[in-house]
Subunit: 267 residues, 2 copies
Amino acid sequence: MLWVDGARVADAGAPDRGLEFGDGLFETIAVVAGRARLVERHLGRLASGAARLALGLPERGLLRAELAAAAECQASGLLKLIVTRGSGGGGYASPAGPARRLLYAAPPRERPASHAAEGITVRLCETRLAEQPLLAGLKHLNRLEQVLARAEWQDPAIAEGLMLDMHGRLVCGTMSNLFVVLKGELVTPSLSRAGVAGVMRAALMDAFAAAGTGVIERDLGPDELAAASEVFVSNALIGAWPVRRLAELTWPAGPWARRAQAFVAEW
Amino acid sequence: MLWVDGARVADAGAPDRGLEFGDGLFETIAVVAGRARLVERHLGRLASGAARLALGLPERGLLRAELAAAAECQASGLLKLIVTRGSGGGGYASPAGPARRLLYAAPPRERPASHAAEGITVRLCETRLAEQPLLAGLKHLNRLEQVLARAEWQDPAIAEGLMLDMHGRLVCGTMSNLFVVLKGELVTPSLSRAGVAGVMRAALMDAFAAAGTGVIERDLGPDELAAASEVFVSNALIGAWPVRRLAELTWPAGPWARRAQAFVAEW
C-alpha cells in the first residue's frame, strides 16, 4: 500500500530503488535544433557507469533511438535520462532484473546570455566533497552534496560554486567541471576521488588534445587560482562559461574559454 | 514529457528530487500487532534530519496519525516513510515548497528466526564509507555505498557486512549499527563522519544507560574485535542480532545481546 502526501494511491508497485537509495545513474543532454548533442559520449559514460554499478542497461541502439525520438519532440532544451536498478531486491541487496529507464524532455533552462558572452562570478562552497573512489567520476543519483552546496547562496549574481574535497583540493563546480590556465597550460582537476566526469569536460579535453594542446589532469589547490591567467567551467547544457571573478580574484574572458566555446558551437 | 521504459506516460510532472538527487530522508519502521514501534524516535530523527537538510516537514501530529493509520492496515510488517524535497527548483537549487511524503506499508521481510535466536555470521566489506560530516548520522536517500557493499556477497549464510570508513575505522553494518563488548563495557562506533544513527541504536543506548550501564560511543578499530567478548548488531526491524562469527573470529550469543533483545521485546 502506498500513500502520497496522505492520499492513498491505487496499484502502487514496490518503490523504485532510484528513489529509495539513489541506486542509478543519469545523463542530462542538450537538445539543439531537434538533435541530442554529444549523444554517443553520454551513452558511453552511462555504459561505463552502469558497468561500475553492475546495472543491466538496455541495448545502446535502443537508447540511442529513444533519445533521438525524444529530441525531435523537444526541438530545443534538454533530455534527462535516469536509469535505475528498478524495484525490489529486499533492502540494499540488488535485484537481478534489468534497469528501469525514465526519459524526460524539458524546455531549456533559462540562463542569462551574458554568462557565456561575458562570463560569470563564482563562489567557493563551504560544503566539501567526500572522497569515495568507488563512485568518483560517475553521474549517479546520490547528489545531496551538490544540493547542500547549491543551497549555500541565493544571490543571482553568483552563477556557480566551486567545491573542494575533504583535503582542500579543487574538484569541480556544483554542476560543472573546472578548467584553469596556468603558465600557458590548460589544467583540470583529477576526478579520481570525487566529482563527476562531465561529458562536456571529456569532449573539450579531446578537442583541445586533437588541436595539439593536451589538457593536464591533476590535483589542483585553490591557492593556484591566484596564478591562473584564465578560468572557465563546462557542462553538457551550458557548454563553457568564462569565470571572471571569485571573491577578490578576477580573470578575463580569455582565448581558452573562447576556443572551448568554438568547439561546442561545432557540436 | 516523460517516457518510462520507452512508453510515453501522460500527465507527468517534473521528476521528484528524491529520485533525481536522493534529496530526502527515510524511516523504516517496524509494525508489531498493528502499532508502529518506536514511532516517536523515528519522527524525532526525521525532524532532526529535515532540519539539517532544510526540508520543510509537515506537522508531526499529521505524520504520527498517518503512521498509526497505516500500521493498523498492515498489522505486522513495516512502514517505509520517504520524505523528499518535492519537484522543481532548477537543477541542484532547492525549491521553496514543502516536502513530499510517500508512505509504503509492506509485509515483514523474511528473516531466519535463528538470526535472533542463535546469532549471525558477518563479513567485513571491502566497500569503505566516505567521510562526510554534513551527512553523517542522517538516514538520507544517498545510499549507493550500502548497495555496493551489500552486492559484495550472495552467500545466504552471511547475514550482514560490517563497514569501515576511509581511515579503516569500524562504522556500522550495511543495514545495522554495531555494538561491541570490550572489557565488560558496551561500545558502539562514533557516527560523526559516516554511518546512519539508527533509531534502534539510540533506543538501546538509552535503555542500557537507564539500567545503569552507559554505552561508550567512540572510534573503534577492527583489530579491537579480537578482544571483544560479545558483538551484536541492531536496527529498527530486526531489533538485535548476536554476531557469532567474522572470518576466524567467534563470539557467543551472550548476555548483552540478550538484554538488548529483552529491551526490544518490551517495545
